[in-house]
């Protein structure tokens, strides 16, 4: 459960650093993809950095988190190692999943990160189960599960909500409402577009916030992680946001209307984060630049290391097959 952090300079810098790290990770990942080093589905988290950064910085490391097909940001905000992240996307044995999982299945079970999931909504019952374990073991922990607007229509998510309320479990449901499921706008996929109300049918309350303001996200998360833990009851935070681009790297997103894209442009979470650094932490442009350059360097180095890592050898893989 959340230990309240003082919102001081260091903390604001750490929030911003996490966001910029995610952004740059996705930028490098995109380059690698274009160069043919990465294949398969690659769903960039950019545009939504404030959510993972704000929510997960409010959690303790012995809490649990489950994520979606768009999971890089959650892993990084949870503290994932950059070399192992890149290695996984590159299919190298040093990756979090030895290169066997890839972008959609990246996870770190040793650190309570139950990881990304390629099936929309399926992480939700899994999160509920992690919370059930907490309750059985009488522990003081919380589970956060992420889902986007499209995932709010599937049975797994809806059954999960009801189970969490019926069983009184400490699950924070974070809805990253980026208003689209691939090319399908939220209005055409549900009769209730206020997604913070998705819990009303099951006795679960919710709130909608600006998902692009990392501080708002953090403070809300802080409050309701506490609520979930103390009451052993679920809660919903709907974070309004927007993808910075198409659904995945190969989707140009031509179907996105101009006004929606402008929503993102005018609310880039990095810009908002920068404003906080300037106004609340008194950082100069130069200091902010330094943070960014520092991140650039760290990313660049990690990438270089990852690119040198070997893939799993065929014979080792075939040994795995024999075990099955």
């Amino acid at each position: 459960m959340a230990k309240k952090k003082t919102i001081n300079k260091d903390f604001l810098i750490s929030l911003y650093s996490t966001m910029i790290k995610i952004r740059k990770f996705e930028e490098e990942g995109t380059k690698l993809y274009r160069q043919g080093h990465i294949r398969g589905y690659f769903h960039p988290y950019w545009g939504q950095e404030a959510i993972a950064s704000g929510i997960l910085s409010a959690m303790n490391k012995d809490d649990y988190v489950t994520s979606t097909h768009r999971g890089h940001g959650h892993c990084l905000a949870w503290g994932a190692d950059l070399v192992r992240m890149f290695s996984e996307l590159l299919g190298r044995e040093d990756g979090y999943c030895k290169g066997l999982g890839g972008s959609m299945h990246i996870a770190d079970y040793t650190k309570n990160n139950l990881g990304a999931n390629g099936i929309v909504g399926s992480c939700v019952p899994i999160a509920v189960g992690a919370a059930l374990g907490i309750k059985i073991r009488d522990e003081n922990k919380v589970v956060t599960t992420f889902v986007s607007d499209g995932g709010c229509n599937i049975g797994s998510f809806l059954e999960g909500l009801n189970l969490a309320s019926a069983w009184k479990l400490p699950v924070l449901f974070v809805i990253e409402n980026n208003q689209y499921a691939v090319s399908t706008p939220i209005e055409s996929s549900t009769g209730e577009t206020d997604l913070f109300k998705r819990g009303l049918s099951f006795g679960i309350e919710g709130i909608r916030i600006n998902g692009n303001d990392v501080l708002e996200v953090y403070e809300t998360a802080n409050k309701y992680i506490d609520y979930c833990g103390k009451n052993s009851y679920p809660y919903i935070i709907e974070c309004l946001t927007f993808r910075k681009s198409g659904h995945h790297i190969n989707d140009p997103g031509t179907y996105l209307p101009e006004d929606k894209v402008n929503f993102y442009r005018n609310n880039d979470p990095l810009n908002i984060g920068k404003k906080h650094l300037t106004k609340l932490a008194g950082l100069s442009d130069e200091e902010i630049n330094n943070i960014e350059q520092e991140t650039d360097k760290v990313i660049e180095e990690a990438l270089k290391v990852a690119l040198d890592k070997p893939e799993m050898e065929a014979k080792d893989f075939l040994r795995l097959v024999d075990e099955y």
Binding site: L100, G118, I119, S122, I126, V128, L132, I136
Partner: protein
Amino acid sequence: MSDTRELLYREALNEALIEEMTNDETVFIMGEGIAERGGSYKVTVDLLEKFGPKRVIDTPIAENGFTGAGVGAALTGMRPIVEILFIDFSMLVLDQIVNQAAKFRFMSGNTARVPLVLRTQGGVGNGLAAQHSQSLEAIFYHIPGLKVVMPSDPYDAKGLLKSAIHCDDPVIFIEHKLLYMNKGMVPDKDYVIPFGEASVKREGEDLTIIAWSAMVPKALKAAEILKEEGISAEVVDPRTLVPLDKSTIIESVRKTEHVLIVQEAIRRGGVASDISSIIQEEAFDYLDSPIAILAGKNIPCPFNLNLEKLVVPQVEDIVKAARKSAYK
């Protein structure tokens, strides 16, 4: 072996649950009506009293959700037993079983474990009709990462359920609605039956009958009748379909040179076909006649009781098929 006593299949299962829940407090069980009511087939009686509502959980009707909750609990250190009332309803939970539970260990690069037991129950019973009578083990059998267990008597039921609970990978444990009231000897002492060891339920020379679950008692009855006709049938029960004890099967076939596989599920795409394909590949030169398969009819289960009998192999059908196989 130590002292034994006679137990019902359902009692043997109940004992396994009680022992394992006593030994390991990460074991818990959930399902519909399993707590206060003790389960539709009385397999979970007394558990609520003994282990309390935190570890013996009545679920809402939300099979996909609570099975997924089982997966999540398993991933985070628990050993959940999830009961799905009828294997037919498992069609609602296949995403969590096929795409999630069966895949995590692999997708995580061997770091995740899903020690989940999915207990369920299948087969044709007394007029339960098309949506409550299916034999669907073949579906799970086809998915890498799952173990599939189908005990045919109380002794196996107890020993295999204990192994299932000990197993670090997901296990589909399929009971049969017509076996719950069958009796059998079960030792007093603690025991487990390892996966992948077939049981030769009866030895014979002329023909190997391979059968599992409710087809085993029927095959044994058929073997009695065949004996009177001078045909000595060996009855092999794989007990665990995954992992499959190929060597016991092949050994038996090499000895008898004639094989009949009996399954309650429909023939097309069933486990019997797979076992047949394995035998013909690995014991081709020993086969004296084609491998015969006797299976459920290729149609949903009818409600009418007289017609219901026609869709599942009966003792006389086994006798007839065995006769043909042995003599061809």
